[in-house]
Symmetry: C2
Subunit: 172 residues, 2 copies
DNA sequence: CCACAGACTTGACCGATTCAAGAAAATGCG
DNA sequence: CGCATTTTCTTGAATCGGTCAAGTCTGTGG
């Protein structure tokens, strides 16, 4: 009901969200916003385009990028860039959570802040630095890949991933 | 003495470092290794190529990338990728320090771990996740840009930078 | 229902990085 | 020392994620 079929309900809600963010309401925007909301997050522009097309029928990749930027600027969507991966988009929840990235399969998982609203937000820096935000990325192996790994910490797909630039620490 | 002229001393040391890392000793490798060591770090491949060329005279960009990867794999160089910036390279010091990135000018500054060797290294994750590393990036304004900013937190160059993809938080 | 700003489509373009093929150079060995 | 083997470097093309630009289409306000 929320994915492809009668999306009436969600359409209306998406329209409302756009409107109250002061944005024009268009089919592509509703579709992308719904795609981001429906997905578990962490999808890239092209995947979201695919989902959105199930609603709009046709949607250019460029439009997808435009919409995603507009939604990000409006504070409805959060953009996350992870080294070696295309940008991912998720619903902005204003909780400044972080991400765990599996070095083997590339999957991403949300990680809540360990302490309060901003862990690690106290860098050892001179007072005249204006620190606005801290982004934390955890690297490791997800349960599935960990089980499949011959040696703990070194999976078969690891080498492949490394070559795709998953920073940091290539550890070969 | 360490930059362009008689680089004998450093050349020899670079050769030694390569050798003890089990790598073949070549002029391009020594040159790039010296370039990384001499710089304050945080230079991208093309800049390092420029520095290295002052020693080798000629060095392809492709070779620079090859060398940097080899050095990274060998644990002599640390690669850092920051959203919206090309990859930066610095001498591997095995201290897992983090980075502060200025949203206005894009400059990068090292930040020591606030607590022990691995702050934020305790993600709220199920026990079957194998967390190997935590990368923390602080975003904000460096002293210079902060002073130049008309409104605190929003510099004149900010918009420009945002459009170049400096994640996270576009805050327009 | 019209006009106009803002949004979509298409297609060229770009920066960072990698792939591929051949030439050059480094180490091992006789 | 001189060659063979293997790795590395050079050159040039290609890929990938993403942006720019020009023209057409469509919300929205009047």
């Amino acid at each position: 009901m929320t994915t492809s079929g009668s999306t009436g309900e969600t359409m209306a809600r998406a329209a409302e969200r756009l409107r109250s963010a002061g944005m024009r309401v268009t089919v592509p925007r509703m579709a992308v916003l719904m795609a981001v909301s429906d997905s578990e997050g962490h999808l890239d522009a092209d995947s979201l385009r695919g989902l959105a097309q199930r609603i709009t029928g046709r949607l250019s990749l460029q439009a997808t990028y435009n919409v995603l930027r507009a939604l990000t600027d409006a504070g409805l969507v959060r953009t996350t860039q992870i080294a070696g991966h295309p940008a991912r988009y998720e619903t902005e929840r204003h909780d400044n959570h972080h991400h765990f990235v599996c070095r083997a399969c590339g999957s991403i998982r949300d990680v809540e802040c360990a302490v309060g609203a901003a862990p690690c937000m106290e860098p050892r820096l001179p007072a005249d630095y204006d620190t606005q935000e801290a982004a934390v990325t955890f690297w490791g192996l997800c349960p599935g890949c960990r089980a499949a790994a011959p040696l703990p910490g070194l999976s078969p797909q690891h080498e492949h991933l490394r070559r795709h630039g998953s920073m940091p620490g290539s550890s070969r």
